[in-house]
Symmetry: C2
Subunit: 416 residues, 2 copies
Amino acid sequence: MAASQTNQRIDAKRLWDTLMGYAEIGATPKGGVRRLALSDVDKRGRDRFRADCEALGLTVRVDAVGNMFARRAGRDPNRLPVLFGSHLDSQPSGGKFDGALGVLAGLEVMRSLNDLGIVTEAPLELINWTDEEGARFGRSLAGSGVWTGDYPEEQILALKDVEGRTVGESLDAIGYRGPEPATRFPADAYFELHIEQGPILEREGKTIGIVTGAQSQIWYDAVTTGQDSHAGTTPPSARKDAMVCAARIIDLVDRMMRARGEDGRGTVGQVLVSPNSRNVIPGEVRFSVEFRHPDSAEVDRLEAQFPREAGFIARDCGIDLQLTTLFKYAAQPFDPSCVELVRQGAAKLGYPTRDIVSGAGHDAVYVARHIPTAMIFTPCKDGLSHNEAESIEPSEAEAGCQVLFEAVVARANRTL
Amino acid sequence: MAASQTNQRIDAKRLWDTLMGYAEIGATPKGGVRRLALSDVDKRGRDRFRADCEALGLTVRVDAVGNMFARRAGRDPNRLPVLFGSHLDSQPSGGKFDGALGVLAGLEVMRSLNDLGIVTEAPLELINWTDEEGARFGRSLAGSGVWTGDYPEEQILALKDVEGRTVGESLDAIGYRGPEPATRFPADAYFELHIEQGPILEREGKTIGIVTGAQSQIWYDAVTTGQDSHAGTTPPSARKDAMVCAARIIDLVDRMMRARGEDGRGTVGQVLVSPNSRNVIPGEVRFSVEFRHPDSAEVDRLEAQFPREAGFIARDCGIDLQLTTLFKYAAQPFDPSCVELVRQGAAKLGYPTRDIVSGAGHDAVYVARHIPTAMIFTPCKDGLSHNEAESIEPSEAEAGCQVLFEAVVARANRTL
């Protein structure tokens, strides 16, 4: 059995200094971070992470897609490791905390365990997943998705960025195509600390979000096709305006979301108009549509209703609508025993909490399909993320890291 | 008095061959034309036009903004010239006939007058206006607008293309900054033949549109500003989705247009979404709004109603809306006596006609503010224009040219 769990505190100042130090790697003028997966900037982050881990006596392994695993031995060599981590890559105009908080809080957990002289029963592994964001190569959760077996390794290695460079070439270029196979190994649990990326915790004054699972999602590509024509000369009866039709479908998405109350999500984030000239009635609009809901049955209903209702709108507009389903995920509940450890850790420390469902995709969502998993959310200012203005308080980072510490140590020391 | 006006026929085959010949200058693989104003391709068109005019004995003058005037002497040196023409520049992916028809039918009128041995009482001037499209430097009707005094010459000369090259530099580069002042000179009338750029004549089986004037127009720049945030995590109550608000305003524009029946025009042709990422609720949308109507009073009403109703929508969405009026034109009626000459010419030739109001901007609209003006429209296939698929029949070009001939000769020979 490890040392007593009372009065074991992570070093909040060291954690914050580490967060700020890594934020200088790829820092943007507006206070954000641009650390695209497998770029030279990402390499600098990875190099520093490896050095920081090795300085703690951890053993760092890199797999064939660049996922990094920093292992701390446990007392019992026969126990499966407890995993925790997140990702160091960022959006093109990202913030300092999305991903980095989970990795660097994990580093602080390792440092504090060393400082406190604690050896857990099970080994621990801190993970930096490759390319969570998908911002450069177009596939999010790339590293964790290969590791879990959800993505074929060759497919991910062949993805290209806008300049035509593949993931494989980029791994080689920065020296992070590692010798380990990029396949899942047996593990006891996975914990991930992340900023909420939404406004709920902040609005309700909660310090810790106990993440009970991830939403169900369905994503579409939509194309409305009408006919380009002159804006000044084409009378109403002759118009086939693809933008007016798209606009009515965008309104529909919002109404279908709101009909489901506060748990619904429905968004058209990307709209590409052709020819996109003031003087020309748009002949084609390509746009994204996505719905999310904690309850898979609601997404099933949206899947049944949305194409039909959008089709009615298109028919009324005299416009051709093509809807392509990109993917549909069922809701992913997290492991009750892992979630309970997060709840107990937060309760022990006296933090105000709230159960919450993850609206974003996270490496933990893929991992949860195979390994008992839970996540910890901490608030972020104004709910902003994927934005250079992303901001959290040092006390929030501390709280999240402390709960991560509690959950990881409790899991690693549990009685089997 | 000139020769009898009976049995004076233009040469339809020569006209068509000329149209096809000029269409090779800047021809695109899809059968259209890319002849951007003051480009090297435009220079080739201008050089050929000058040569074709000089071959007829016409005197070609070029003014300080590159407008070209090819003069044919009349019998009475004291009479003011009758002007006619259009423009040889095109949209980036334009068609063979928008503009070129008016210039080259004018050339055919000159050729036929020579062939028929007709000398008109008044002198004639065939015009190729500079940069009607505004596609390269962002200001349409640039050449005619300077000539009429509606645009300051220095302002137009200083306009830049996307590469930073000014109109003045571009005129110099192709040798078309002419010695003549770019100012209006006294003239008796102006006629312009143009494709309709809309579907009305084709749909009704009319060969000639007798253009009685130009629509009133109002153009806006609109910006909706909300807040970027994560599409998966931001609940309905916390969303400030600039795209949903813009979509409802786009729907409003269409409804306000349709409320005015077949004469109404209302279009959102350009939509720019920020950050335009699938996963992010749009924080800002910039879009164009324009309304047109033959009756200025309707545009006045739209000007009063649209900002108010769009403002209500924005308020309901919790979104900031900024509307900037780019310009507002009153309807521009054409000169009744000139319109009557078009009507008589078409009647004499037995063409099915229809009175029509121009929905597009044309050089004739600026000229009409100062000089008695009329326009002749001919059908175009499916109403398509500003499009490489723009298409007309040889018989339609012939009819338009023949009516232009009739109107010009009648005006030039009228009894004063």
